[in-house]
């Protein structure tokens, strides 16, 4: 699914966070967004998903459009871009009072009105895909970080999204657990999912990304194929940023 963000501006009070950001993502593409903290990467993802309003600019996700809220009171529940986009969070945000299965079947059965059995079968299939078919009846508190994040991915996939927005999905994980999540994402890419990821995993970007985007101060500074951006960027700031990440 094609995503097009044009001249996105967003300020928190007086402080501009997104300052005329432009980005296009082609259907099936895996795009990795990197940049210093506070540069607006996460805010950009949240705006794409309608969790946050934009002050000006336009966002198109397939046929769905998001406009600026023009000062009106903004409800994060009002937009329909989520019918095609799923989102994975740094802190998983699993529902602690529901089992793994409950977490995954909740939205399909209540929003898409799937019947119990269908929702359950889809959930079990997805759990198999993320390697947790034996954990269906566990509660989030009983899972490791990597397992939680894989459940969160299965939960998002149950709504059959065309795009997955991943907001630093491995940042809360121990290094040895990161690969189990990244492996799942790589598998999804190979199945044609459009992936938009904010991450510091340079290795993953080199291996799996079609495009790397460097954002600083609310703008896209440079974008291009991973090798070009990660190994021979034109901008000196990117070089400094990456060498810091590597050390």
């Amino acid at each position: 699914m094609h995503i097009k963000a044009q001249d996105i501006r967003k300020a928190f009070g007086e402080r501009p966070v997104l300052d005329g950001l432009n980005l296009e993502v082609a259907s099936g593409e895996t795009v990795v967004i990197i940049g210093p903290s506070g540069s607006g990467k996460s805010t950009f993802l949240r705006c794409l998903n309608g969790l946050q309003s934009i002050d000006s600019g336009t966002i198109e996700v397939g046929d769905h459009k998001l406009e600026a809220s023009n000062g009106k009171r903004y409800s994060p529940f009002s937009s329909d871009v989520r019918k095609v986009q799923g989102m994975i969070f740094q802190d998983f945000n699993l529902f602690p009072h529901m089992s793994v299965l409950g977490n995954i079947t909740e939205a399909p059965s209540k929003v898409l009105k799937h019947n119990r059995n269908d929702a359950r079968n889809i959930a079990l299939e997805l759990l198999k895909k993320v390697g947790l078919e034996s954990h269906a009846n566990y509660y989030p508190a009983q899972l490791s970080g990597g397992q939680k994040q894989r459940v969160a991915i299965a939960r998002a996939l149950a709504m059959k999204p065309k795009v997955l927005l991943c907001d630093e999905v491995t940042s809360s994980l121990d290094p040895e657990l990161k690969h189990e999540v990244l492996d799942v994402l790589e598998k999804l890419k190979s199945e044609g999912m459009t992936l938009l990821m904010v991450t510091h995993e340079i290795g993953f970007a080199k291996k799996a990304a079609d495009k790397v985007v460097f954002i600083a101060e609310g703008k896209v500074v440079e974008e291009g194929p991973p090798r070009q951006i990660l190994e021979s960027p034109e901008n000196q700031r990117i070089r400094t940023f990456i060498s810091k990440l590597m050390s």
Binding site: N49, L51, S75, P76, F77, R82, K83, Q85, G86, M87, F89, D91, F92, N93, L94, F95, P96, H97, E106, A107, K110, V111, P140, A141, K148, A152, R155, A156, M159
Partner: protein, 494 residues
């Protein structure tokens, strides 16, 4: 078949005339009316009631009411008449109707048997630093105050005499003669000193606007005066004296009544108040306490949740209304609220010309008062709990396409309730103990039952300890439950 039983019941009820309801206070009320360990409720007024029942050919049912509340309760219409040593006063005559008198009382000074300083009320007044005990809201209190004698008032005669015996706190007790005969005469440590003074009349107080009932009661009283029944009752209770001639024409003073040990049961038979006698009564009170706790807490929860929602998500108007409710009911003492609901609402209904009766039953009044009060606390507990569910939960649900209502109902509320549970359970324990103030609106729950039994038996310590055990037996497990829940639910994060 099934329909037949209620029908038969109905017919049985229809045949017998509707019972009259009368009220009195059995708490420490010898010889008027009190609890006897063997005979149950007894007293000379109860004997008069039985005699009247025969004359009126109508059943008369008893309703327990605290003495202070008899006249307000009568005005409110909770019962047909009150009889409990109620003196005819001008003040009372303005609000209720009185029958003819059934007893002429006088006031009796009681001193310690070893008192050397004085023997009369005047002597007492002229002695330095003396305080005279009496009962709250009685004619005796009024007389003492008029005479400028320092007074300490008590809720019941047993407390006053017990304080006199223990010495130090008061120097004499000034109360109606029947009370002195019942409580002080059998006790060797006390002395009825000087002549009884200040004559007055006991009569039956009747609901205003019910002159017909007054007439019926009057003719019934005339009959039992004429046939000697009233006299024999008074003799039985050692209350007959020459003064009663005035209201019982045709019967003459024969001999000075001697204390009849059979009729004076209070002090002698304390020992008969065994645990087997009072425990069932305490358990009855416990049941009322538990019922009141459950009903008022349910009300608090049912009101608290919508209030918290109004406060969090309502329009500005709703928000301020909810806040007003919470501030008001948290700031007003529950006792005041109970009195307002119980005595105030019927008065409002009457004075505003409403055609509906707002005279709520004691249980319902107490449920309402406690429930409205605790709803304010529960609303704040729920609000805090809802707000403490992490924002990420809202976002995760939103990103799955769930709308606001669905998210609240399925994701936020279940977590908020878990967070609120320990606090709510603690509030339940607090409410359980707060139910004791319901005795103020004539509800006989555990605490009131204790007071009645302790004053009848004078076993303040023994029955008090058992009452405390009953409270603890229920509140300690609840408190433990609260702590267990807290431990169990607290570590469960994401």
């Amino acid at each position: 078949m099934i329909l037949q039983i209620p029908l038969m019941l109905f017919m049985a009820l229809a045949q017998s005339p509707t019972p009259l309801i009368w009220a009195g206070d059995e708490e420490g009320g010898a010889p008027y009316m009190f609890l006897d360990s063997k005979l149950g409720r007894v007293g000379f007024e109860l004997d008069i009631i039985n005699a009247l029942e025969e004359e009126l050919k109508r059943p008369i049912e008893f309703k327990q009411y605290s003495f202070d509340s008899l006249i307000p309760g009568l005005i409110k219409g909770d019962f047909d008449f009150a009889m409990n040593g109620i003196e005819i006063t001008e003040e009372r005559q303005q609000s209720v109707l009185f029958s003819k008198p059934y007893y002429i009382y006088r006031q009796q000074l009681v001193i310690r048997a070893d008192e050397k300083r004085f023997t009369t009320l005047l002597g007492c007044k002229n002695t330095q630093n003396t305080i005279v005990g009496t009962m709250d809201g009685t004619q005796s209190e009024k007389l003492l105050k008029q005479a400028n004698i320092p007074v300490r008032t008590y809720q019941s005669p047993t407390e006053a005499y017990a304080d006199l015996i223990s010495g130090g706190r008061i120097d004499a007790v000034f109360l109606d003669l029947p009370i002195a005969i019942s409580y002080a005469l059998p006790d060797k440590r006390l002395l009825l000193s000087g002549q009884p003074t200040a004559r007055g009349l006991y009569a039956i107080a009747v609901k205003p606007n019910n002159q017909a009932l007054v007439n019926q009661i009057n003719s019934a009283l005339d009959s039992i005066k004429a046939n000697g029944k009233l006299r024999s009752i008074l003799v039985k209770w050692n209350l007959w004296d020459a003064y009663q001639e005035e209201i019982s024409p045709g019967f003459f003073f024969e001999e000075e009544g001697k204390p009849d040990s059979a009729s004076i049961t209070v002090f002698e038979e304390n020992k008969a108040w065994t645990i087997a006698r009072y425990l069932p009564l305490l358990l009855e009170g416990t049941l009322v306490t538990v019922e009141l706790t459950l009903s008022s807490f349910s009300l608090a929860l049912l009101l608290g949740l919508p209030l918290s929602l109004a406060r969090l998500y309502g329009t500005p108007w709703l928000k301020s209304l909810a806040l007003l409710y919470i501030e008001f009911f948290r700031g007003v003492p529950v006792l005041l609220l109970l009195f307002f609901i119980y005595f105030g609402l019927p008065a409002i209904a009457e004075s505003s010309g409403l055609n509906i009766s707002l005279a709520l039953s004691p249980f319902f009044s107490a449920t309402l008062g406690l429930g409205l009060n605790y709803a304010a606390y529960e609303a704040e507990t729920f609000r805090a709990a809802i707000q403490s569910v992490p924002q990420g939960q809202w976002e995760a649900a939103a990103s799955l396409g769930m709308d606001k209502t669905l998210t609240f109902r399925r994701i936020i509320l279940p977590q908020a309730l878990r967070i609120a549970l320990p606090t709510t359970t603690n509030d339940l324990v607090a409410l359980f103990k707060d139910t004791s103030i319901a005795s103020a609106v004539a509800l006989v729950e555990l605490n009131k039952q204790y007071q009645i039994l302790a004053k009848s038996s004078l076993k303040f310590v023994e029955i008090g300890l058992i009452t405390a055990v009953l409270y603890l037996a229920l509140s300690v497990p609840l408190g433990r439950l609260a702590r267990t829940l807290e431990k169990k639910l607290a570590p469960e994060k994401r």
